[in-house]
């Protein structure tokens, strides 16, 4: 079975050692997803797998036939940006931009997780309904490092989109 990436199907005819990240960049030609550490420590490679955020560097492409992946290219385009992409631009949520595709894919999934009622380690009541606060956003986005330290503006961009959706 092929893998579906941003709605298009691709055959997984690759060396089993190929990470999903390398498959996206090299074999599918989708270079929006970035490689930072290649060890699950930075979040630059974050994509959505069947709607959930994962680190594409720590999974093998061959494990994902039949799965559906969304990368930054599938979230929005320069002409029709996703609300998060537009908010990152408005709030200067980056400097070099290297972490940005991962930040935006991660933020997209984070808003879905909150909508689904998932709590985090900083939620007061782990069994309760999560409330969106700056502290919650920082905890939930801790898997996405930004070497340029654009964190304040990233939080501002995500808060704006979250409030607009609420």
């Amino acid at each position: 079975m092929p893998i579906t990436i941003n709605g298009a199907e691709y055959e997984l005819d690759v060396d089993p050692r190929t990470s999903l990240l390398d498959f996206l960049r090299r074999d599918a030609g989708l270079t929006g997803t970035k490689k930072g550490c290649d060890h699950g420590q930075c979040g630059a490679c974050t994509v959505l797998l069947n709607g959930q955020r994962i680190n594409s560097c720590l999974t093998l492409a061959v494990m994902h036939d039949g799965d559906s992946v969304t990368t930054i290219e599938g979230l929005g385009t320069p002409d029709a940006p996703h609300p998060l992409q537009a908010a990152f631009v408005r709030h200067d949520g980056y400097q070099c931009g290297y972490c940005t595709p991962g930040q935006i894919c991660s933020a997209k999934a984070m808003l879905d997780e909150i909508a689904a009622g998932w709590t985090s380690f900083v939620s007061d009541d782990v069994a309760g309904t999560p409330k969106l606060s700056e502290e919650e956003i920082r905890e939930r986005m801790s898997g996405n490092l930004c070497r340029c330290g654009a964190y304040s503006n990233i939080v501002a961009a995500i808060s704006e989109v979250a409030e607009a959706q609420a």
């Binding site: 994962i54 093998l60 494990m63």
Partner: protein, 327 residues
């Protein structure tokens, strides 16, 4: 990464047969195994993908719950029954790694995650766990994250995970399918091993074994806390962590269940400490005694000496909070 044969298990018996071969390893989320394979710390010749086995879902099991081995850490911590009836487990899972990693990390893989000892990761160093018989560069080296309890002369590594610490406090059980097709149940408290003179063996799994699930006993009630002390506020392994389930009745500690992360080659559980607390009225003096008993055989290795007072203070803080005092 070294080349390997990629095989997908079609059924548990098939998995057992594939895994009994020399050099074969199961892969679930891959978040620990692939990290180590990239560094060639792990060099399996055959990778058995267990992800399509029917080991998902959280189901009722007697008065407790059964968590399938493939349930992701995120799914487990988001389950309403886990959040309301086993909050110490939900909190411990949420304290580990990140949402991205926890979406892939599985219950079975999390239990089997390997140590974060720097020398284990570094092929240029001696390490009895990675290369038995070569020595242990951590003894006399940098050992800030290493064990203060239960270590041996061959290995002073710690088990790094959070989830299993809560499972130990809850006295959960690991269900294992073996190569003969039989199932056995191992208490989480006995699943991980102390290093002794075979530090290459982290746990009691044998070739061909597949973890199929984890059984939680009836909800423990009480006040359930998971406190994790680490170098940064998020996305870091524990220096010390405490999972606690405490019942206070009529001004006395009626029941205490405690397990500790970051201290040893396994989640640390000491029934003596629980017995000392039970039946007593909470007080700082009592908590001091509990900490002293917990740490009576603790030994620092140099750079981790700080863990002894840190554990004492963290345990006291948790006990104060759980018995209604302040921080």
């Amino acid at each position: 990464m070294k080349p390997f044969d990629y095989q997908r298990a079609h059924g548990l018996d098939d998995a057992g047969q594939l895994l009994v071969a020399d050099g074969a390893k199961p892969i679930a989320g891959g978040t620990n195994l692939l990290d180590l394979m990239k560094l060639e710390v792990e060099t399996p010749t055959a990778l058995v993908d267990v992800n399509r086995l029917p080991l998902g879902g959280i189901t009722a099991h007697g008065e407790g719950l059964y968590i399938g081995a493939l349930v992701s850490n995120c799914a487990c911590a988001a389950d309403p029954r886990i959040r309301s009836d086993y909050p110490v487990l939900a909190r411990a899972i949420l304290a580990g790694a990140t949402f991205q990693l926890r979406n892939k990390a599985t219950t079975g893989g999390n239990l089997c995650q390997r140590t974060r000892c720097y020398y284990f990761y570094d092929l240029s160093q001696t390490c009895n766990k990675r290369a038995p018989g070569t020595g242990c560069a951590a003894i006399g080296g940098f050992n800030r994250i290493h064990a203060i309890l239960g270590a041996s002369d061959t290995c002073i590594a710690t088990y790094p995970g959070d989830m299993a610490v809560a499972l130990s406090a809850l006295d959960a059980t690991v269900e294992i399918h073996d190569v003969k097709g039989d199932k056995r149940l191992v208490p989480v408290r006995d699943f991980h091993r102390l290093p002794g003179d075979t530090p290459e063996r982290d746990n009691v799994l044998e070739p061909g074994d597949v973890i199929t699930g984890v059984v939680l006993p009836a909800p423990a009630g009480g006040t359930q806390l998971y406190r994790k002390v680490r170098d940064r506020a998020s996305y870091a392994f524990a220096l010390v962590s405490v999972a606690a389930v405490i019942h206070v009745e009529d001004g006395k500690i009626a029941k205490a269940r405690l397990a500790f992360g970051g201290l040893a080659h396994k989640p640390w559980h000491d029934a003596r400490v629980e017995a000392l607390l039970e039946g007593e009225a909470p007080s700082d003096a009592l908590f001091d005694q509990a900490a002293a008993l917990l740490l009576d055989e603790a030994r620092g290795q140099g750079s981790n000496d700080f863990k002894i007072p840190l554990t004492r203070r963290t345990l006291k803080a948790v006990l104060r909070e759980a018995t209604g005092g302040t921080l």
